[in-house]
């Protein structure tokens, strides 16, 4: 798997898509409002025309590039380019205010590289044994795993569990539209022949991720451009800062390893994502530091904790995606859709049937992380200019690209209608605080859940005891029950805390409704 993957990534076309993806990732990373998942969704109409492995290289290098580039506006402007970079701003922006912007970016660049490379190597080591273990899973175990994945993502991605579960349930229901996987009988098509194949992933993903997000951006009433710190001094100064940043990062090797460890561990859990992981990594770094007071005041360790973890998560999210078919993050949901569109069902068997492609995806993260060092240094200064792209330009361009991509996918205006409808649904969900990732996950995993359930029911002749009649199934059910119990207890505690805090809030600055 490793050598085949390496061959694919180091082929001329592999390298081409790696560099294209990395550059695109840099642009996406510095543009607040455009995330990796948006871009991966926008790329779907292009990437479906590419061979699977090249499409995966493209998406994974976008992921790696944006994870680093998000730190550039976080450091210079105090506005994170992507969710994971919010933590980088805590110390990176303070360094920039102290006149060390170049060094902070150098630290972020080196930490991103090390985090991505170490995490990629760890993933390469663990993915094969985990995949082999998962091969023992039958329909019964896979049903529980998929259910567990949906519950995990629905409850972890947002702050409000009910909203997450509602979004996931909506996705599961929408996934039942089309021909039944059992008999081919039409379900919920309302006489629309284009719905017989179900809701297509490409327009749905474009709608939810790209169009919905752009409508949300258009709906923001505050769109003023933040004042930026700037890099000056030319190429020689950039190089000097890059070397200084790399030296500082290497001097804090323990911090890099700790942040990468946190990133790998949390990245493997579906739904946790970079935002939460980076905060955990920062908290761990602060707690274990000799001088915690330096955090938040321009500490190099703070930048390392965030950036090494950010890139480590990117590779680690591939583990559940490839071994179980449960995406570890929003971008991985698009990767999963990419597999399905190419006719490959991700899950335990994918490592055996499509090992080189899976290997190429992991090695693409490692290679892209290495390339962050030279390419990232060359284009950091131009990247700063991209942060100035105003919403009035960004929104029309992404809307046009998204709608064109949805219609170009199959040449169907119906798909454009689906993208528009999902865009409006996504917008309403986003502005009301409903996460869209569980909806996507439900849409993608719904057919898989139904198929495994039907197969398990057929194997057991409808006997429900069968679902509990294996040690692995019992362990998985226990995990699911423990998760639900934890969520119920922590939710009740949260509500109690909220009620206790409410009187003091009411006495505060908020005025009553008139």
């Amino acid at each position: 798997m490793f050598l085949d993957g390496l061959d694919i990534v180091l082929s001329p076309l592999g390298l081409l898509w790696l560099i294209v993806g990395l550059l695109l990732g840099f642009v996406v990373g510095v543009l607040p409002g455009l995330s990796t998942s948006n871009t991966a969704a926008l790329l779907l109409p292009f990437s479906v025309s590419l061979p699977t492995e090249q499409a995966l290289i493209l998406i994974m290098s976008v992921y790696a590039g944006s994870a680093f580039a998000g730190s550039v506006p976080a450091i210079l402007v105090n506005v994170p380019g992507e969710a994971g970079s919010a933590v980088t701003a805590l110390d990176g922006y303070q360094m920039a205010r102290q006149g060390k912007a170049g060094i902070a970016i150098g630290i972020a660049r080196m930490a991103s590289t090390l985090g991505g490379v170490i995490s990629g190597v760890v993933v390469l080591l663990v993915i094969a044994p985990l995949g082999a273990f998962a091969l023992n899973f039958g329909a019964r175990e896979m049903f529980i795993v998929v259910l567990l994945g949906i519950v995990l993502v629905s409850t972890l991605v947002g702050k409000n569990i009910v909203k997450g579960v509602l979004a996931g349930g909506l996705g599961l229901v929408l996934a039942t539209i089309g021909g039944s996987p059992l008999s081919g009988q039409e379900r919920f098509t309302f006489g629309e022949i284009e719905l017989y194949d179900g809701i297509q992933f490409v327009p749905a993903l474009i709608g939810l991720f790209a169009i919905g997000e752009m409508l949300r951006l258009a709906a923001e009433s505050r769109t003023s451009q933040p004042a930026a710190a700037h890099l000056d001094g030319g190429v020689r100064r950039d190089l000097k800062d890059a070397v200084a940043g790399a030296r500082i990062t290497l001097k804090h090797g323990g911090s890099v390893l700790r942040a990468t460890g946190v990133g790998v561990f949390l990245g493997i859990i579906p739904g946790v994502g970079t935002g939460v992981s980076n905060f955990v990594s920062y908290a761990v770094a602060k707690r274990t530091a000799r001088n915690p007071a330096e955090f938040g005041k321009g500490s190099a360790r703070g930048v390392i904790a965030s950036e090494a973890c950010d890139n480590a998560v990117g590779a680690a999210t591939l583990v559940p995606t490839l071994t179980l078919g449960v995406p570890g993050s929003a971008t991985m949901a698009v990767v999963l859709a990419q597999f399905y569109i190419q006719g490959i069902q991700p899950g335990p068997k994918v490592l055996a049937t499509h090992g080189p492609e899976a290997g190429a995806a992991v090695i693409a993260v490692v290679a892209a992380s290495i390339l962050i060092l030279p390419i990232g240094m060359l284009i950091t200064a131009p990247l700063v200019q991209i942060t100035k792209v105003p919403v009035k330009i960004l929104v029309p361009v992404v809307l046009v690209l998204g709608l064109t991509g949805s219609v170009a996918y199959r040449g169907s205006l119906f798909d454009m209608g689906i993208a528009t409808m999902f865009g409006i649904i996504g917008f309403f969900m986003l502005v009301n605080g409903y996460p869209v990732v569980p909806l996507i996950l439900g849409l993608i995993l719904g057919p898989m859940l139904e198929e495994h359930l039907s197969r398990a029911l057929a194997l057991s002749n409808g006997d429900l005891d069968y679902f509990f009649a294996s040690p692995t199934a019992l362990v998985l059910w226990s995990g699911l029950v423990a998760l639900v119990a934890y969520l119920v207890i922590s939710g009740a505690r949260g509500r109690r805390r909220e009620r206790a805090a409410r009187p003091s809030t009411d006495r505060g600055s908020k005025a009553p409704v008139q």
Binding site: V162, R187, F188, S221, K392, I393, A408, E450
Partner: protein, 190 residues
Amino acid sequence: MSVHVSRAGRDSEGSWPASGAGSRGIRVLWRASVPVVTLALAGVFLIEAADIQGRDAIYPVAALAVLAVVGLIALIREIRAALSETAVAGGSDGIEDAAGAEDIESERGIGVAWSRVGPVVAAVVLALVILHFVGYVIAIVWLCAVTAVTLGLRKPLWIAVFTAATAATCYLVFAVAFESPIPAGTLLNW
């Protein structure tokens, strides 16, 4: 991300929902919009599920039942939250994060500027409607121009150059380079 409640009502950007007399009902409706639509969808699908024969109905009906229960819980919680929500004192835009509103990509707060998002959504829907008749290029030029003007692009020359460049680039990339089947339009048959 949050939905904001402003004492000043509609601000200079046309933000909404507003507070003040008569706004409570609108706020309840706004916060309950997603669960209400979900419940309506679940209802329609449950009626349609009656026509599904045999075991093909088991999974969808189970999923619909779960969705209906969660939708009902969400609806009750949203209504209770909207009724107990306090307005935020503020100046011209009175913006502050409201509790219980978030998304995974961004924590930044927004006030929903309907004066901007309304025309953008209308432009998208109209582009979809006219695309079949006037073809891809005209529909996309229309969408791009309306969106850019709505979001603040003012100089006519800039608008013309920007829309022409965007439409031409998309056409060249998708229709020419990738040979994607872009609708030509029945009216002009481009």
